[in-house]
């Protein structure tokens, strides 16, 4: 199981939006350098799990251990310093800022930060449109910018929420290539993804979330054996 390689441990995570109890004891762990994929139906609590890990959902209970230390009480503004980078579902591109301003916005926090030159060679589209407003980008370009922005910070753990949502197949393929490259570089990725075929090519392990609870966890190698059950659980 490699317990010593565990980078993140989530134990009994509960979260609330106002009075609404959304997560009911989500538990899983993430190993150094792996891609863990959270799967589940719409509204199961996958996005909320990511937001609760970061502290974007303030009202939460349970343990969120990063390298063995509970980070639940760490202020949101200090989370990035711990090496966590977030690519939200809605991409979070600032329309009032240019592509380059969006890219340069988050401060560099880690030693493995990609240079702007490296980023532009990885995403040539962004280089061409560096002075354009963030709002003028296509959905695919916005997604690339959201990923690129985090790579420039040197984050070692990336929380990636629905990166392929609403994108054309050719763009999905491109984003898949980029994520594979990040995997090769040893980045740890927590991926929330509805596109199961996309996730399949990247995931080392899966966590199934349903109604705010963890209902299953398994290795990628066991996927074939679980398919029938997953189809039943998730309607795949």
């Amino acid at each position: 199981m490699g317990g010593d390689r565990r980078l993140i441990e989530i134990n009994g995570l509960n979260a609330w939006y106002g009075e609404s109890h959304v997560l009911h004891g989500v538990s899983f762990d993430v190993r150094q350098g792996e891609t863990l994929t959270l799967i589940g139906r719409n509204g199961a609590g996958k996005t909320t799990t990511l937001r609760a890990i970061l502290g974007l959902v303030r009202k939460r209970e349970g343990e969120i251990l990063l390298r063995g230390q509970d980070i639940k009480n760490v202020p949101l503004r200090r989370i990035a310093r711990l090496g966590l980078g977030y690519v939200p579902e809605e991409r979070g591109i600032f329309s009032d800022l240019s592509v380059e301003e969006n890219l340069m916005l988050p401060p560099v926090m880690g030693s493995g930060a990609m240079s702007v030159k490296e980023i532009y060679s990885l995403f040539p589209n962004l280089a061409e449109r560096r002075s354009n407003s963030g709002s003028k980008l296509s959905g695919g370009e916005q997604q690339m910018l959201a990923i690129a922005r985090i790579l420039r910070t040197g984050a070692s753990i990336i929380l990636l929420d629905e990166p392929t949502e609403g994108l054309a197949p050719v763009i999905v393929e491109r984003i898949g290539d980029v994520l594979r490259l990040l995997k090769e570089r040893g980045l740890t990725i927590i991926l929330v993804e509805q596109n199961f075929h996309f996730a399949q090519a990247l995931a080392d392990r899966y966590v199934v979330i349903e109604s705010g609870e963890t209902i299953d966890r398994f290795e990628a190698a066991d996927l074939e054996a679980r398919m029938a059950r997953l189809s039943e659980q998730l309607g795949l």
Binding site: R77, A80, P88, D96, E101, N102, L105, P106, P107, T153
Partner: protein, 300 residues
Amino acid sequence: MTNVCIPFLHCMPLTALYGQLLIGLINGSFYALLSLGLAVIFGMLRIVNFAHGALYMLGAFASWWLLASLGIGYWGALVISPILVGAFAIVTERLLLRRIYGLDQLYGLLLTFGFALMIEGALHYFYGSSGLPYPQPKAMQRALNLGFMILPMYRGWVVLASVVVCFGTWLLIERTKVGAYLRAATENASLVECFGINVPLLMTLTYGFGAALAGFAGVLAAPIYQVSPLMGSNLIIVVFAVVVAGGMGSILGAIVTGYVLGLLEGLTKIFYPEASNIVVFVVMAIVLLFRPAGLFGRSQ
């Protein structure tokens, strides 16, 4: 002498027209400085800062107090008073405003309105409402003959200082990293904080900076108007109309609309004086009819 005429309304000498345009430009300078501060504060904090007029008045009072008590003249006050007003605003943000972030904007409006009344009431109690004189700096007591009009130097200085400060603020917000943080936090504060940026501190400094702009305007105004507890409340409603017409939270909108409406008000004083007190509000109403987000604002 050359006259300028508007059919059915009025004819007047060109020199008088230039004079009124200068007055309009001076008023516009104050509108621009004050609405800029309001726009910066609203953009970042989502607070409709009704205390802005009181902060402007505090800037003027601070200058008067620096001169009367410490012998510090206009140029010193131009630096010190905005710092004092900004520091005062930072304390109030930490103690009061911070508690209402996330609530409906009405709470911010009522809190700052009440706060403005308290400040004005306190100064009214100590200094009365008749106003205190503040001298123009000696170097600015002359007038320049521009050929087509006589320009009192201090009035020219007010316009110049306002343009420089407005342009500098625009540069700061649009062309610097701090400005990028501010613009980004205006759109999505929690995501910016998630990137490791200290958004609560940014909000405090923004309020302090917006207040310092009001304080700066107060220092500029002190030699022109009487330093009086009500000088801010007389102006703030017009400034709010300017901000709404320009687009709430729009930096460029606040600056451009401030100057344009100041000039328009000046022109109205020449050609149809009866409407001069309402022209800004009429423009605001027309803008709201056709562009509810304001001339430079973006629809939410």
